[in-house]
Amino acid sequence: MELFQYPYMQRALIGALVIGLAAPALGIYLVQRRLALIGDGVGHVALTGVGAGLLLNRSPVLVAVVVATLGAVAIELVRARGRTSGDLALALLFYGGIAGGVMLVGLSDATSANLNAYLFGSLTTISPQDLVTIVVLGAVLLVTMLALRPALFAVCHDEEYARVAGLPVRALNLLLAVGTAVTVTIAMRAVGVLLISALMVVPVATAQQVTRGFRATMTAAMALGLFAAGAGVWVAANADTAPGASVVLLAIASFLVVAVVAAAWRALRRQRAESGAPAPEPHEVVLR
């Protein structure tokens, strides 16, 4: 525990907790749209931004925010026109983004260690300025995703209905695209571009095995993200493992535990129901 007396470990923990809370709050909307992998695509584009930042001697995180936002908005515009199929657009992003990043990093003076820090995360090298960026952007993201939940839920659930309800569908879609880019870039320091999607998607997948509603799923996913981030950093500090990988593996372990427990619970309930009196068919209508 004494490791957490060091400021760099405290920064790593705070950064991880903010990301653990914010990433599922955005990720749930992506999962609802069955776009679980879009975060991965935007993450790859962000790598090009990192390369550009290193090459131009600017803050890689800030340049990555700008490039990832442009990429996410471009995807949204392509989607809104409905000209390219989803998986093809994703493929272009994945390979274009990572190739651009690797090429630009190669052109700069950065070493492969620099590249690795962005590919797989480097929580313990977060500077105080980085932490301020993560906390401020994470807080803005969290408040936006919670405050606009009814509208974002409606748009992700049934876009045509949302349009007929007069909601600003295009603005909300762009907001989600920008939110994805921001999440990706702040989470990049924690888990790296290759593992970002895990923090957005895995807690949601875990939560929805036991929840019945959207709001409950969102709350549970945020709690799970917070737990995985905190426990992951603790494990990494004590076992001297890579923090990003530890966080993601803990999130996946929670998924497996919940899946097994939920399946056992359902089997038990079924058994009990079969041994008792046969349950009547549920009513189709309520007669009043």
């Binding site: 749930i28 999962v31 609802q32 749209r33 069955r34 776009l35 679980a36 879009i38 995807i75 949204e76 392509v78 989607r79 809104a80 409905g82 390219t84 199929s85 989803g86 657009a89 994703l90 405050a147 606009l148 009814p150 509208a151 839920f153 409606a154 992700c156 659930h157 049934d158 876009e159 045509e160 209905y161 949302a162 349009r163 007929v164 309800a165 007069g166 909601l167 600003p168 909300l172 879609n173 989600l176 695209a177 949601v204 929805q208 929840t211 019945r212 509603g213 959207f214 709001r215 799923t217 009513h283 189709e284 209508v285 309520v286």
Partner: protein
């Protein structure tokens, strides 16, 4: 003189250069219940989608409540019931959460839900007979109950005009009756209805006018036509395929 709720004048709609509707004109007055009938692919769904601005007009004009569609902003006056629940549902959602979406047009994006919203959602759930299922995930409901959820969502917004796309297609008899009851309540409060249907079933006595779309034009506008031939047989099993009509985009559900 009643205000015309929907006015379509010489509307032309096409997909990828293929005309679907050619020169269609239609007027719906307040208090009317107009059924749009026609075969699969006749363009009847396209007609109501054009009325709502979901597909663009190539020529002609649409006005809602006397305002040209392009300048129309009072969407809280309209309740839309799509053919089915969209594929958007990677995450579970309760019946109440889906129905509560219907309040957004009235409330706006930024204001959190209040007491009036809760009361309207409760009333809508009761009117379609789903009050006891409010906390259940919509995915666990039968097709007919899901359809009733969508109708409750539209009713929760307390609209003046309901636009329904095949509300009774593939719906069990009990849900059709529950739906007809909800519609009757809506009409008693002075509502106007435009609906697309293959078969009218228990809705038939509620319909005040029928419009038959055939080959992209309006073939009949007046009394509800009587079923003919084997369609009139009480044992006629009205079954037909419902193909997907929308390409799935990247960010869409």
């Amino acid at each position: 003189m009643t205000e015309s709720v929907i006015t379509v004048a010489h509307g032309v709609v096409g997909y990828d250069g293929r005309p679907v509707l050619r020169d269609v004109s239609l007027a719906v007055d307040a208090g009317e219940v107009v059924a749009v009938l026609g075969a699969n692919g006749s363009g009847k769904s396209t007609l109501i989608r054009a009325v709502l601005g979901l597909v663009p007009l190539h020529a002609g004009s649409v006005a809602l409540f006397g305002t040209p569609l392009r300048r129309f902003r009072q969407w809280q006056r309209i309740g839309y019931v799509p053919q089915r629940l969209g594929a958007g549902g990677g995450v579970p959602a309760t019946v109440r959460e889906v129905v509560a979406s219907g309040r957004l047009a009235r409330r706006g994006v930024l204001r959190p839900p209040g007491r009036a919203d809760r009361i309207a959602v409760d009333a809508a759930l009761v009117s379609v007979g789903l009050a006891d299922r409010a906390g259940d995930p919509v995915a666990t409901l039968s097709g007919g109950q899901q359809q009733r959820t969508l109708i409750a969502r539209a009713l929760a917004g307390e609209p003046e005009l309901l636009v329904l796309d095949e509300p009774t297609a593939g719906v069990d008899a009990a849900s059709q009756e529950a739906f007809a009851g909800a519609l009757r309540g809506f009409l008693d409060d002075g509502g106007t209805v435009l609906l697309v249907a293959h078969e009218l079933g228990p809705l038939r006595p509620l319909i005040s006018r029928a419009v038959v779309v055939h080959h992209g034009g309006i073939a009949h506008d007046g009394a509800v036509p009587e079923p003919a031939g084997h369609h009139a047989d009480p044992d006629h099993d009205h079954v037909h395929p419902h193909g997907p009509n929308e390409p799935v985009g990247l960010w869409s559900s």
